[in-house]
Structure formats: structure tokens, C-alpha cells
Symmetry: C2
Subunit: 308 residues, 2 copies
């Protein structure tokens, strides 16, 4: 079974959308990635940190979904990372109301022995030095290393970010961040410049406007599934990453053709994630539902005419 | 040969983009639609109006592209409709600097006898009463009537707009306008409401984020081709409409499957249009270039895995 090592936050989120609000609920990039990936025939393992306030039921939930949590450090005297945000009426913009790093401030990731030979490594959005530290602990070069990051690290830790970008195969980044990282407005040019920094594959996420996969001179586009309602976008990008890497760790094929499939699988899972608050929907999605919606993606994008 | 009747503006445009600016050049919805459609095996005919200042070379250009201009009225003592706009650095927003209706203010469209039995009718963005007047002059019901409109008519001529929307098969509209027309934020819900007003097909244009075709419970999505450079977006939507209706007038097949193909053809031509100012690129695009880029659209969107 393919092993997927996931590094990222495990957190409490408090979310306000036009449709309601939550108290502190389960959140964090590694949580969404791990739960999403658990829909594939893989062994996901999380490397992260939480405080003594992190409830046993959340640990049990992850274990029940076959997410390995040996690498999830519990700092008894500390508090779990907390994020709170409020979404605008159109759900496309959000204000961060609170970010309390807590135990994340001193996070020193330790990759369990069992995952030092992972097939696929997903470096969730974190300080680039933490991401690099994880790579140094690996006993063998994974088939594929995927890195997520954000504008904050471009503004505050440029050198460390460029260093880790140079070590990965795939970078996932949103369109504005791709422009910021490359200094190019055209996403075609931006992807080319970013690829020259290291990653053979550049995956640009455009939220409800889909995702673009660039590799050498090839481009693949996957739309987001048009939905009746988007309830809560929190974690959609991480769910996408979990579906993307989960599919690749299961199939162990890193050709461009198979990465295209992985992009569709990621978009597919993300379309479930936004239907309810936090991880609610991605926790209980069934294999039948996943297959049905994959067919909707085919219907949405596939056409058939002869080109002369 | 399929006949395509096109109603819309023929204009002078003065355009300013970050890459340069033009004096008064050939523009207008019917111009772009007619030139785009002339790439198909169809007879496009324009119904529009210009002033005595409209140069013979532009009339000759349209004729040389097999665009019938019998329905293009020349008001000798009048001036041609003039639009001027300036694009923002990202080309996604523009300011209108001038709109001089001139001869368009009293436009009374007359459909030439030869086009009163058109196979496909494309009602470009104009006053909805002008659009209705064209439909009343038709001797037989076309296979397909396509209507383009904009927010201005929603705000100023609601009843007339609703009336003409009730008479067409396809409405093309951008995402913000679809929301305004329907009062729904979700494009899935918006399309359903708009379809209930009359059109069996709702085609929502999202500019660089592609286009969505809705029909009953089915949805098809076509991306815009990611380009190295977008030089001038003026007329891209009308070029899209010209490729869409040109393909349909040639194939005379109005199934959902064939409308999907038409959306791809429209997106394909639009991707050329933006490469140079105004109609420059769409005037000289070759059949080989069109075919090559259709293949790029296939490569961009087609994937192939079995769904269990």
C-alpha cells in the first residue's frame, strides 16, 4: 500500500459564513489532507503538533479513518493552533479574525520511522524551514514531493522558501501567489518561471475557477464542479491536495497523464468539502458518491469531435 | 450553406491597453461576430447601421470575408457609433471613455429578404426592442436563436428584455449579469431561473475563466485557453459568439452534444481575437491555425481514466 507522508497544521477553526457559524471545530491543513487521502488505498501519516486541549475524539476520528498519527506530537501543557475567519457574502473573500499559533510556534517536526520511506510526501503550508526539515529526515527520495505555500512566506522567509521550492517536484499555489512568486501576470509565464526554480510540475489553484497543471510545455485544466450551494470553503485547497496526493500515492505513477487524473480526483473531493462546515462532509463521503461525482466531472468537461 | 443572420453594432473603437493604443479602428459586435463566423462554411449576413464616415475599405473587408452587408444601412448624413475604452493593467477591468451612439440612436433594423429564412440568428447586444423587431421580420422560425445582452438593458428596459428573452433558444450573458438577471448568486441556480424565462440553453461567459453551458440538468464547461499574453480583450465575447453560431449554422445540429462543440469552437476563436488589437487577428487567422489550436483545447481539458 502506498505511503503518504503529510506535514501540516492540525488546528481548531472557528468559522463564520453567511449560512452560520461554528465554535472551535477540527481544522488544519494536515487534517483535511489526511482525511481526503484516506479515501484512497493508501496509508496516510500526519506529522504535526497539537496541545493538551486537543480532544481525544478528534484523535480517534483520525485513527478511525486510518490516518496514522504517530507523528502527531501532543504538547500537554500547550494549546492547539487556532484560526478564526469570517467569509464575505460571496464566499470568495474572507477576513481572518484570529490566528493563535500556540504550540505551532515551536513546532519541531519528527518523521516517524515508518514514514521515512514514504512514496509521496505532501508538505502542507508551513514555515519553509519546517518543510525542509521534514525532507532532511527522509531515508529515501520519495517518488513525488508536493509543496503547498502562501504569500506570507514569500514576504517573510524568501530565501528559505526558494530553498525548499528547489527540492520538490510539484508546487501548489494560488493564482495571485503564482504572480507574486514569479513577478509575471500571465499564468503561463509565471508557471514557466516557477518551474525553473525547481518543481517539474506547477499546479495553480484558482478556487471556484478551477486549477491549472503545467509541465514543460503542456497544460491541463480542471474546473471546479459548479455547485448549487457552497456552504464553507475552508479546507477546500487542502482537500484538493489530499485527493491529489492520495490518488498518486495509490497509483504510484507520476506521469503527466496520471497527474491530470490526480487533479480531477483532487477537484472532485474538494467539491464535497465545501458542502458543509469544516471536515464534516469529507469525513462521511462514500466511495459511491465519489465515483458518481467523478462521472459528473467527465460529463462537465469531455467533448468529442474530430479535428481535421 | 447555412445562413447566419447577425444583428448588432458596427462601430469605430478607440482602445487603450497597457501595450498600446489605437485611433478609431473597426469594431462593433456584428463585425466581430460576422468575421468570426466567416471561418465556417456559412453565409453570415449583418443587419446594422453606420454613418457616412464609415470607410469603404471596411465595407470591402467584410465583403472579402464573405460577410453579406445588404442589411448594413449607411446613413450618409450621420456618424458611425463610436466607443472608446481604456483597460486596466490586468486587462480584466476597463473604463469606458466615450460612447457616442450617433446613427445607432435611431436604428431601425431591416432584415434583407435573403436572410428572413436564416438557419441561425445571432442577436448581438442591443436594445431588446431592436432584437424583437428583427425576430418579427423572420419568415420562418430559425433552427436556433441566440441572444446576447448586458446589465444596461436589465436596468433600463426590463420588460422589453424579458419579452425577447422569452423568444430565444440560447442566452449568452456574463456571470455578474446572470446573477443580476436571476437574483441568484450560485450560477447553477441562476441558470435554472433564466432558463425558466425561456431559453432552453443558458451560456454563462466568465472571460478568462471560461464559459458554462447549461441545458436542463446538464452542464458543460469550456476553459479559456491560457495564453502567454493577452493583448486586447475587446470583442472576445463577440468573437466567441461568432464561432459558436458559425459552427452551429454550418453543422445545423442543435443537440446539447453539438452545442458543447460549438462552445469549444467559440472559445478557440476568442483565444485568437485577444492576441492583437480589434479585429486584426480574427481577420487573418488561417484554417490550419484554427485546427492546431482546437487540438490544444483537447489537450488542455481531456483526460482518460476509467470510473468504476
Amino acid at each position: 500500500m502506498g505511503k503518504l507522508l503529510v506535514v501540516g497544521t492540525v488546528a481548531f477553526d472557528a468559522i463564520e459564513t453567511p449560512f452560520g457559524q461554528t465554535d472551535k471545530i477540527l481544522g488544519g491543513a494536515a487534517t483535511f489532507i489526511g482525511l481526503a487521502a484516506s479515501n484512497y488505498n493508501v496509508q496516510p501519516g500526519i506529522v504535526s503538533v497539537v496541545g493538551g486541549d486537543f480532544p481525544q475524539e478528534y484523535l480517534d476520528l483520525l485513527k478511525s479513518k486510518s490516518v496514522d498519527i504517530e507523528g502527531l506530537e501532543v504538547v500537554k501543557e500547550g494549546k492547539t493552533f487556532f484560526w478564526s475567519g469570517k467569509y464575505d457574502h460571496d464566499l470568495n473573500t474572507r477576513d481572518t479574525l484570529a490566528t493563535e499559533l500556540n504550540v505551532l510556534a515551536d513546532f519541531n517536526p519528527v518523521v516517524p520511522m515508518g514514514f521515512q520511506n514514504a512514496d509521496v510526501v505532501m508538505l502542507g503550508n508551513l514555515h519553509p524551514e519546517i518543510q525542509s526539515s521534514v525532507l532532511r529526515q527522509l531515508k529515501s527520495r520519495p517518488k513525488l514531493i508536493v509543496l503547498d505555500t502562501m504569500n506570507y512566506w514569500m514576504e517573510h522567509t524568501w530565501d528559505a522558501l526558494i530553498d525548499v521550492i528547489g527540492k520538490v517536484d510539484v508546487i501548489t499555489i494560488n493564482d495571485e501567489e503564482a504572480r507574486q512568486l514569479s513577478g509575471e501576470y500571465s499564468l503561463v509565464k509565471a508557471a514557466r518561471k516557477i518551474s525553473a526554480m525547481g518543481p517539474a510540475f506547477v499546479l495553480i489553484k484558482k478556487g471556484e475557477n478551477g486549477a491549472l497543471l503545467f509541465h514543460e510545455k503542456r497544460i491541463f485544466f480542471a474546473p471546479a464542479l459548479p455547485l448549487e450551494e457552497v456552504f464553507d470553503p475552508t479546507g477546500a485547497g487542502d482537500t484538493f491536495a489530499g485527493g491529489f496526493t492520495g490518488y498518486l500515492a495509490e497509483t504510484k505513477n507520476i506521469s503527466f497523464e496520471n497527474l491530470k487524473n490526480a487533479v480531477i480526483h483532487g477537484s472532485n473531493l474538494a467539491s464535497f468539502s465545501v458542502e458543509r462546515f469544516g471536515t464534516e462532509r469529507i469525513q462521511d463521503v462514500t466511495p459511491d458518491e465519489i465515483e458518481t461525482r467523478l462521472q459528473e466531472f467527465k460529463d462537465l468537461t469531455q467533448f468529442d469531435f474530430e479535428i481535421q
